[in-house]
Symmetry: D2
């Protein structure tokens, strides 16, 4: 049935796969998976290898690495550093640069909306070196790679498509690699601020928790584009809807197969339910999100994890200590 | 049955009443209610008049005024001013001060956690005049009342019970009235940042969305205490639980009374459900809240509404224009 | 003597002229001046008309309008609006756009350094409309002009020359006019945050209080460039040096012309003095600036003045009330 | 001559002493001095031992330790930690507490004015433990001392004398020691943000760069009061005036003693000069201060130095690493 192939709306390859396997009791065809533990981090590398995988996962052929880590990491400086190193370990093989090549780090999202501010916050913690290499090369170790960074703001702030801005800058600066960071939405509260996705196929239109419509990819920018995404919220409507599904699934398990109750549960159309929920709960539920109460602190922590993951991956000649000293 | 009188855990008198009337199809005994529209605002004045009302509503005998207004108010400067005036209209009769008497405004909550920062933010917008009246009385209109204000921070920031701090200050400063502002939790997403509760019985232990255990009331401070509360979040667990109740209620309506399905639905213990949900959904769901995506902006707006409501009520000799000019 | 033509190092045409006329007791040749009062604002329009004027003023041929206003303006909302209107009045004739033409507003400077943050702060208060005109034209009045805006950050933050970034964006977005805002240094404390300079010749290399080396002009961007500058600091070294000059001038007046004391004062080489001062006072004086104690508040106010000056000039179909409502 | 004993207006014992010794070519009578280098820090311990010392230094009998360090410290994390340890070394002998005794840390000053915000910023970095010791003693090492902290805001923000607020809190909380932190003004730009003064006689009326009139001392609070002050600005008027003095001193050295020029220089009354300067330079010079351009960053750094100095001194059972881990 075609239903099998309908992928759920999610920015995470991991969730698309999860949704498929739950429905179909078999793994997604057209992908290769490698899962393992790295200290506190659960890593899953998914490679989408053909068109079928592409259709089911909802993402272009390429590599998608997901790192999942426990919540307490945000409250422990050493664990933050550890997860940064795991991020760097996964990011490094995707950064295919020679020593003197330049990377441009782009922080997407709106700095005025805390859960959407992770991209700009990462940029503020990137070790920016391109100007030093160019103007005062003696002030900096020879092994340091030229890195530049910008957080251009979103359409509602600039009045310009972010894609256009980045394209204009890339044409002038001519970096050899672009790394984009963006906040995502997840379907599961367990993932919020605890999952980092790294992909080597750029950012597709419509992704992100804000209203962004650019595609940033090798096709549009002319250089390889890595995308790092982190779910920072769950839509309140999604939480409500998924809760309902859960109840119905529980009740279904308890009902006699084939009985009238079972039949009634089967008849519930899931889309109709969501509409019902939204009407009953709150017509404005769509503008509500589920976040940690101390979202400001948590966004600060995930930004540090991602920024230092990038810093380590881009500067193999330096240690995390060097980087921290430089940034301070 | 005793069940009838079990009140739901909520900081809002309005919600306690709602819960009771839904269960019992009759209004709460021991309260007097007056509901009306004031421009964009729906006002409900509840007076708890006896012990039975007190037990059901879960709040001491006294007056509880609730103002509800639509979401768009936050995005329109004129509507913000209008709602401020409605707040002042309800607050004024509770402010029983002679002209020369001093009011102390206390902002409760944690300024580092945006949805808990509404109290401190209100304090930063209060027209503070006590020092001018005392040291440079000629610099200020004679009709201006002495007002002072403080946001002491929460237990985790100061290491001291907020109640102790305020008691110490009140004993030195000897105000004639204390007005406390605090962020609350609501059960319904529709109420978040759209409902203001004004009460004349102080703040009870355990209220608020943070970990606060003080009682600030006439009994502990020796002067009348008005409490202004605004729900700024719904606990994610509450949203999940209420969603389940909704589904079960819907299914119950459709089931044949007395049939096995109906019986099964009736048998579901609501507390057990919540535990189940939290386990299945996320063991850390307890630290998650539902908020608007643009929470920073919305908290700014509700703080302005409440602060100017207080400013107008405390300074009957001034217009809102005077106050805004003074504060700028 | 060639000395006559040595212009002092200043970003303000006004100060270059002042310096010349003090030295030479005659006005600068090659410029046309028009000075008048506009309410609380003292306006001076200087037109540099030939090469001699260019050399003395230190700026290319073109128009330089300076608006000076008293300090209290920053503490009075109505006066802020008034000065905004004066800025708009001077800016409007320089904005030579047809109705449907697009303006790009560029905020230069470093948002992490308060006195250098005026450009980014102005951008955050600009009425950005280009995306609405493009995607939801019905949501906005027909008479509204498309405006976009960006604050790209400084070289030390991005690793990229700001000029390159802006050039890249201009080539993609193709605006018909660019307006740049930047913080300047002044020689006189009286001018700090009380003087706004508007010029129609762009921004020259080396201007600004940060380390910026781009030229943003019609020559480099291909479209007309207006520059709005505001002195937000005086270098502490300049203050010290100018104070010394003042003392020497005072003593010189009192000394008998031709006497040994007079001769000695005449012999003091002003450059040598500055070096002396810096050594004696503080080897790091160069990193110190003179600012108002409440610099955060004052920068907020000057940003509002400039932003609304631009908003009014770019949107002749709207009133300041409309603009404020839109921005809120 | 009585002139010899006129002490210059300064908050720093060090500067009062310097002024006296420059004038009188002999050290202040009634004080004992111990000066030495501690790594990057120059330490001077001044003990005021009798009334004469008190009159000349302008501070009550007691101990005043000054730590001076070079500017680059602010830009190097390791040096910041080193200076913190030097602060702790000087502070520790003044903290005469038994293990279970409670310390209250009070951050004076206005958080809205960056150079006055150092007190509140220090408080935000203090290891607050009193509530843990009281409510969850098992969650924390036994050797940890109970510490609480508050930044009450200034008179213009609260409408209440800070002294009254602190007195009220001290009476309720009953700490065994109070440590106050405040921003000061210096006469010398070299000292700005590079000098920390620790005194064991409390804070006298009129001190501080804001308008504060409380006395916080053992006399008024009933418990020992340590005061930590840091000059964060030089008044622009002071800089101008001191520059003039410098010029005159230079010229005087070059003039023939007894000649008419020498006589004229001698005749200049220094107070008159300051008035002249202020008139000529800027009638509002009084509201201007000299600060580093990157004042926000520097205030952050000095706050960390002082906070960790206090943290180490109050928690001898912990290392700086423990403290940093706890605070993160």
């Amino acid at each position: 049935m075609s239903d099998k192939f309908v992928s759920v709306r999610t920015d995470l390859a991991l969730e698309a796969r999860e949704y498929y396997t739950e429905k179909n009791k078999t793994d997604v065809p057209g992908i290769k998976v490698n899962e393992f533990r790295d200290g506190k981090v659960w890593v899953s590398r998914v490679e989408v290898v053909n068109d079928e995988g592409e259709r089911i996962i909802g993402k272009p052929k390429g590599t998608y690495v997901t790192l999942e880590f426990p919540e307490f990491v945000h409250y422990d400086g050493e664990s933050i550093d550890e997860v940064s190193k795991s991020v760097a370990k996964e990011l490094s093989p995707l950064v295919k640069l020679q020593d003197s090549m330049t990377a441009l780090v782009v922080g997407l999202g709106n700095w005025n909306i805390t859960p959407d501010a992770v991209g700009p916050k990462v940029v503020s913690k990137i070790m920016v070196t391109r100007h030093l290499k160019e103007y005062v090369p003696d002030s900096i170790d020879e092994g340091v790679r030229p890195v530049c960074a910008i957080a251009p703001g979103v359409l509602g702030i600039t009045g310009m498509e972010t894609g256009e801005i980045i394209r204009g800058i890339v044409e002038k600066i001519k970096p050899n690699l672009v790394i984009c960071i963006d906040a995502l939405a997840s379907r599961k509260t367990q993932r919020v601020n605890r999952t980092i996705q790294i992909g080597n196929t750029g950012i597709s239109p419509g992704a992100g928790i804000g209203n962004k419509r650019m595609e940033l990819s090798e096709k549009t920018l002319g250089v390889p584009v890595l995308a790092i995404g982190i779910p920072t919220v769950v839509d309140a409507g999604t939480l409500a809807n998924d809760t309902i599904d859960l109840v119905i699934d529980e009740l279904t398990k308890q009902a006699t197969t084939g009985g009238p109750f079972y039949k009634m549960l089967m008849d519930l159309d899931r889309n109709e339910k969501q509409r019902l929920i939204q009407e009953v709960l709150d017509p404005d539920l769509g503008s509500l999100v589920v976040t940690p109460k101390d979202i400001d602190k948590v966004i600060e922590s995930v930004s540090r994890i991602i920024a230092n993951g990038i810093n380590i991956a881009l500067q193999p000649a330096l240690t995390l200590d060097d980087i921290n000293k430089y940034l301070n």
